[in-house]
């Protein structure tokens, strides 16, 4: 009965932004991966995950995001995050994710930072 994660896509010229709303658990992570892999398959190399609408995640959901990071390294693309809650940001730090995916405070900072 839990609200499933809602994923919205904003495809721009130079990058694609994926917005999430809800709990990133197993299914939530899979849903993000599905959308992101589709983007990558269609040639997209810069993906920003805006987690503004996500207040909780679990480690299974995050593990699926690591698959995305791996893929991005392979194609020499860029994956970044923005608008994390302090706990989600801390969790990413604990895991060391921030070495592989940049974390921005907000969307404008991310869009600027992902250029070039």
């Amino acid at each position: 009965m839990t609200e499933s994660l809602k994923v919205t896509l904003d495809r721009r010229d130079d990058l694609a932004i994926i917005y999430t709303e809800g709990y990133i658990n197993n299914q939530g992570g899979e849903e993000i991966a599905r959308v992101a892999f589709e983007l990558i398959d269609s040639g997209e190399k810069r993906v920003l995950l805006n987690l503004k609408g996500t207040k909780i995640v679990n480690s299974i959901g995050i593990s699926i995001l690591i698959e995305l990071i791996e893929k991005m390294l392979e194609i020499d693309g860029k994956l970044a995050f923005c608008c994390l809650t302090p706990t989600i940001e801390k969790t990413f730090q604990i895991m060391g994710l921030s070495q592989y995916a940049e974390i921005f405070a907000d969307e404008p900072a991310a869009v600027a930072g992902m250029k070039g």
């Binding site: 009965m1 839990t2 709990y23 658990n25 909780i56 995640v57 679990n58 480690s59 299974i60 995050i62 593990s63 699926i64 690591i66 698959e67 990071i69 791996e70 390294l73 809650t85 302090p86 706990t87 801390k90 969790t91 604990i94 895991m95 060391g96 994710l97 070495q99 592989y100």
Partner: protein, 149 residues
């Protein structure tokens, strides 16, 4: 230093059904809020409870399909710390044999999971795991006020 006395205690027994970890984490949030923890700390407790419950759900194989959670507020005149014990009667495991996950390896590994315990330890102030063939108990605590931070 002796441990402070228990000021308030709530015990839950929850069925291992989908998303029950979210309900458990809400009770932890309510207890933490009632003792006036900062919202960032409350949120960290919440995430740790989520992870510990998921571990019992996924790995314990407990036949009774329930997890026992005891939330205790400890303190003398004022609440000092929130201690949460999450217990299952499953198969148990050897914590000392669990490999510490490293991101450099996980990026390339086929199995990308294995982060739960590391996250719990990173978010809580104290974590203790007792596990044998009769089950697993993880006891984790968070101090209300900063401690060596």
């Amino acid at each position: 230093m002796a441990e402070s006395p228990i000021m308030r205690e709530v015990t839950l027994t929850l069925p291992m059904v989908a998303d029950m970890e979210v309900a458990a984490s809400k009770t932890a949030t309510a207890m933490a809020a009632a003792m006036a923890m900062s919202s960032d700390k409350i949120d960290e407790v919440r995430m740790a409870v989520l992870e510990a419950c998921i571990n019992s759900f996924e790995h314990s194989g407990a036949e009774d399909r329930v997890v026992h959670i005891t939330l205790s507020v400890l303190g003398n005149t004022e609440p000092e710390k929130l201690r949460i014990a999450i217990r299952d009667t499953g198969v148990g495991f050897r914590p000392e044999e669990v490999e510490e996950p490293r991101i450099e390896e996980k990026i390339k590994a086929r199995r990308k999971r294995g982060w739960g315990l590391k996250i719990i330890k990173g978010l809580m102030d104290e974590v203790e795991i007792r596990s044998d063939e009769s089950g697993t108990t993880i006891v984790m605590s968070k101090y209300r006020d900063k401690r060596g931070e």
